[in-house]
Symmetry: C2
Subunit: 237 residues, 2 copies
Amino acid sequence: MRNSETGLDRQRIVRAAVRFIDERGLRELTMRRLGAYLGVEGMALYRHLPGREALLDAVVESVVDELYGDPDLGLEAPAGWVDYLQRLAHGLRRIALAHPEVFPLVATRPAAAPWVRPPLRSLRGIESLLQVMTSAGFSDEDAAAVYRAFSSFLLGHLLLEVSALGVETGPVEEPEVAPVHDLSAYPALRRLEPHLSQDHSAADFEEALETLLDRVALMLPARPRGGRRAVPRNGDQ
Amino acid sequence: MRNSETGLDRQRIVRAAVRFIDERGLRELTMRRLGAYLGVEGMALYRHLPGREALLDAVVESVVDELYGDPDLGLEAPAGWVDYLQRLAHGLRRIALAHPEVFPLVATRPAAAPWVRPPLRSLRGIESLLQVMTSAGFSDEDAAAVYRAFSSFLLGHLLLEVSALGVETGPVEEPEVAPVHDLSAYPALRRLEPHLSQDHSAADFEEALETLLDRVALMLPARPRGGRRAVPRNGDQ
DNA sequence: GATCGTCTGTTTATGCGGTAAACAGCCGGG
DNA sequence: CCCGGCTGTTTACCGCATAAACAGACGATC
């Protein structure tokens, strides 16, 4: 009973967990249920993983590796730091949107070291970012600053974007018959409600990314670096 | 047995929950333990709250209300929109740092309506922000855009800042004897490690806030709004 | 002032979740 | 052919959220 169909395996389990979460949500994930999902008895999972926490860590790792493992993303051979950061940002956004139920986990799981920040969680990824930036002429300090700024940009945007998808970033999921309070006491809210409920995530993301890149470009020693596309409104500060 | 010492009460429970989380962490919070913390039998809490989820919601609400209820913050009578946004941002940061164990909850709890974004979770607060912005001459669309940009800025920065405090944004808290992997394979990381582990949160926050405000100012019809100046350090932190 | 309904905390009980421990079938090597 | 080690299964324990039955104390009503 060890053929490719039934045989368990750490990787098979982790992948199943990702699919399970994608399909049924994080709060539904249970060792026993995941076992059943794999046609197996729950306790069986402990032969391959030390426990639930380790499973969640592995899920995060697996999802993040989707990013660094994807050669289509071109992270390996970027055309300059701008290109690199753009690919990185878009790649992470793609992941967040592909696994909206998993992303909050990526975002909030405790980090191995204080400087390993979500959502860029892999040493490999951080190393690569720092390498690209310093090679491009940024000082060590600036490279670190870019890493920090980039992290919080991504975390903020992506977490909000996936949670707008109605994801259970927390618990429950009652239909809540009265989701929208009575807005009569809030005239501005009532008036702007159409604007607020419109989805601008993609455009906001791009714009914030461009702004960030412009800001980063200003750190560079001298020249604003040729490749940098001139965004119409970058005259700030 | 209903005197001020022993008598329960929704508010007393919620406040105790906040203190409990501050002291022992979110993952330690249990209905029974919170009961014990209040000198009571766990099930007693259900007389005042429908369940654990409701308790967590109330905790979030209570913490967020700290912000809007604090008159020292001057949110009621701001000197222009820049001042308002600065007070708001600093106020929220103060809260995040005061309750680092609670903040991830504020950040990730499902929103009542899709346009109620963490960490600005109260209708009152959103109304107030929109009101200030539109009164200052921003179009409805721009006011909504500012709200969105502000949310993700705050979420990203504050979530990262509290999680850097070693907070259990997720589960476990094993000391993990080997927290830092061997960095030999990551030269850039090894070289930049001192820069990365340095704490720049406050400065980064201020700088990103200033950048955001500058960017917002550019939305304004004509004049870049005179009041714009380097932050003279409000009462906060 | 006795009666009673209500409000609040307690006890008891159910079902689920994580996980330890004992167990059983199958493998490949001696 | 037997045996030790994998891998999955059973059993079992304990903590949790929560429903339900219970009990004491209060204030209002008569």
